[in-house]
Amino acid sequence: MNLTLKIWRQKDASSKGQMVDYKVTEISEHMSFLEMMDVLNEQLVNSGEEPVAFDHDCREGICGMCSMYINGEAHGPDRGVTTCQLHMRMFKDGDTITIEPFRAAAFPVLKDLVVDRSSFDRIQHAGGYISVNTSGNTQDANSIPISKHAADEAMDAATCIGCGACVATCKNSSAMLFVGAKVSQYALLPQGQVEAADRVRNMVAQMDLEGFGNCTNTGACEVECPKGISLDNIARMNRELMKASI
């Protein structure tokens, strides 16, 4: 496959960026999108140019590190996958592919396609945990009865890898799918009840402080989420906050 790539290049956080065109040739359709980016970068290094910076780690679709807004969609046109699991067979020979960083005021661009997603970490620090005494007398979690339905729903919420595709996709740059999933994974389980009210209050307050937008229920996040996190989690977070505020 021969492709034209339009890629956002930005020297550093304070520089003004721009779209730059590149050509790559002989790309195998079996390559992942990141492998195609590796080919481009080898090409750039060989010609003495600065390679395109992009985030990646496990390349197995589970770490949440890769990002990229590809042809107008977070993680590209495929469903239920991260960019590292997106294959070049999703594109055609001769295609022009637009590649941009995730855009949100709360995700500032650091360089090229790399964005700072530490706002998600700060939301987690605000309440995305349970306090457990680990001094040796911790109760076995399996001794606490939990219904299969609740356990499944909590597990579904916990599959969120915090990649930020929801924010990147949302026309309002809202982080509510992420925060909804993090609130839900504890709200559904008995271990999460003790700190439930403080958790949702503090996580939502931190989310607002970081400058994420407001959810308008377009449902775009749910469609683009590589882990299929459901909008039900946002509804649950809304209920949890109402409950905590009354």
């Binding site: 956002w8 107008g72 740059s173 989310m207 937008g213 407001n214 209920r239």
Partner: protein, 225 residues
């Protein structure tokens, strides 16, 4: 509780609450409008009741005005905040791949409805306020007969006004097509995403605007005969 309504979720809930109120109002407004098609006399009597009953005039009307103003003002505030949340826009964005046009353009359908409400107030509400509160005429009579049906007919003679009303109702339908089920989701209910309420929402967003359109067209065509 005041902290709740200052949060992003609280604002979303307040938009949903005002939306539920306005959706109930639309139903009531359409019900009275339909009377004008079937029975001018009943329409006159109900209009006179709504226009002169102290509970409607001094309790429900201010609540309605507040609900309308609140929904618009909060809608604009949230839109501005949301735009600020993305300071650099995408060179290429494929919104159609993951969401409906209606859901992405609530602000534009909302602005069209606001323009309509201004026209509608100039047409009906301001003259009513003038007659009752400035001129002090609470009789509802003109030449010894109820004036409401006649005034309604007069307003729909002009085809440009009728066209403006019809276009506005189409935008209302588009706004409701997303807004109806969205309000349930904002209130923390999954019901808006289940088939039953989605069907009711679709029906509501078609029937309500279509009802208003039929009433407007009926009076336009009926008057010309």
């Amino acid at each position: 509780m005041s902290g709740f309504f200052k949060s992003s979720i609280g604002r979303k809930v307040s938009m949903a609450l005002s939306a539920f109120f306005l959706m109930f109002f639309l139903l009531q407004h359409l019900a009275i409008n339909i009377l004008s098609v079937f029975s001018p006399d009943t329409f006159n009597e109900v209009s006179h009741f709504m226009g002169t009953n102290p509970l409607v005039q001094f309790a429900l009307q201010p609540v309605l005005i507040f609900g309308v103003v609140f929904h618009f003002v909060m809608g604009f505030i949230l839109e501005l905040k949301n735009r600020k949340a993305r300071n650099v826009s995408y060179a290429k964005n494929n919104g159609g791949a993951n969401s409906s046009w209606m859901s992405r353009n609530m602000i534009y359908s909302g602005v069209a409805i606001l323009a309509f409400i201004i026209l509608h107030f100039i047409d009906f509400w301001f003259p009513e306020i003038n007659t009752k509160f400035i001129q002090g005429d609470w009789s509802g009579l003109h030449d010894g007969q109820f004036r409401y049906y006649h005034e309604l007919q007069e307003k729909f003679v002009n085809p440009i006004r009728v066209a403006a009303y019809v276009i506005a109702f189409v935008f209302l339908g588009l706004h409701l097509a997303h807004g109806f089920t969205s309000a349930f989701q904002s209130m923390g209910s999954n019901a808006g995403r289940k088939k039953t309420l989605q069907t009711i929402g679709k029906a509501y967003s078609i029937i309500i605007p279509l009802g208003f359109i039929i009433v407007a067209l009926y009076h336009h065509l009926n008057h010309n005969h």
